[in-house]
Subunit: 203 residues, 2 copies
């Protein structure tokens, strides 16, 4: 966790992150005590409190880092340019791969907005909004240039994000489909949804 | 709640249902005690335990009734017949209206599968599956008759359900759009997603 790195050591940090999102995804943030979390990774509660004085500090750090990593992953994956069909395909693929690899953290990020204090909720919603804005811009530009047939880019962006995040609800690594195949199928559905005439669309 | 009706009185029953889903949606099932729930509706914990000996009995009842009500609402809304485009439109509208009216119960139903014991989880998943099967059949028949252009009805059904359930994440009754307008917009997106050539699709 960026701001406390060095204090914990990398392995403890990774163990803490993994244990925290797993316990919170399983039981809900409110039901997971700092004591239980510390025990899970073999720490004294006092040691954990030293770096996260309140449980919400830990939650906020996890949620902020989740969104920052998502935004960074998209910045790396974004092909840029004027071809919005190509950018949309990259957006869908990046979003699905990112979330399938982080199921617990995604559940926590989606469910536990309820557990943040107002200022921190605002900070997380701002990060979300800047990410969703990328998709809205792709849809808006694609519609303006005639590539997409959509009447409400903002609502379409919400619909696409809900649809592609929903993969984590049913997809398991042992499914018959690989992540790449799932991403490809969702890509085709997204292209139809936005009325793009892609070659892959023949279906 | 069906099996205990008459014992509680209708008003207490409605208050219990509302308080239970609101508290669980806000704090998570595990963090809400029977004592707190009883206090919320002005009952002694002992009175609540008389009708729901374990907290999980209450959760299971809420989740079962939620799914049974959804299935009943769809049975009432299903126009039947061979026109799968028309049936799909009715499915999307019914699903959105039902869930927008029951945001808390929907959050609990989606999040707290994790909190059910195996036998009860199986019972709820069976109800879900029978509901989702309706959508899969619509898609399969629509594809077989050439009305829809989809290559994977099961995966498309999951995608549609995630997309249209997602309305509850952002839609609030004070939004600029009415529920009917939202349902209409999602209907059009769904029609594009399944490759149906509906008149409304011009977008």
């Amino acid at each position: 966790m960026t701001r406390t790195a060095g204090s914990f050591g990398e392995r403890t940090e990774a163990a803490l992150r993994e244990a925290a999102v797993a316990l919170m995804a399983r039981h809900g943030y409110e039901a997971v005590s700092m004591r239980r979390l510390a025990a899970e990774i073999g720490l004294q509660a006092a040691a954990l409190y030293k770096y996260f004085p309140a449980k919400e500090d830990l939650l906020f750090t996890l949620m902020r880092e989740h969104m920052e990593a998502l935004i960074a992953a998209w910045q790396a994956a974004d092909p840029g340019g004027a071809d919005q069909t190509r950018r949309l395909a990259a957006f869908v693929e990046n979003h699905i791969v990112f979330h399938v690899e982080r199921r617990h953290a995604t559940h926590v990020s989606n469910m536990e907005l309820r557990s943040l204090s107002p200022a921190r909720l605002t900070a997380i919603l701002r990060l979300r909004s800047s990410y969703e804005k990328e998709l809205r811009q792709i849809l808006r530009e694609g519609a303006a240039r005639g590539g997409f047939a959509i009447d409400d880019p903002a609502l379409t962006a919400m619909a696409i994000i809900q649809m592609i995040t929903g993969v984590i609800v049913w997809f398991r690594p042992d499914e018959k489909l690989s992540v790449a195949e799932v991403a490809e199928k969702y890509h085709r559905m997204t292209m139809r949804l936005v009325g793009a005439r892609a070659p892959a669309e023949a279906g």
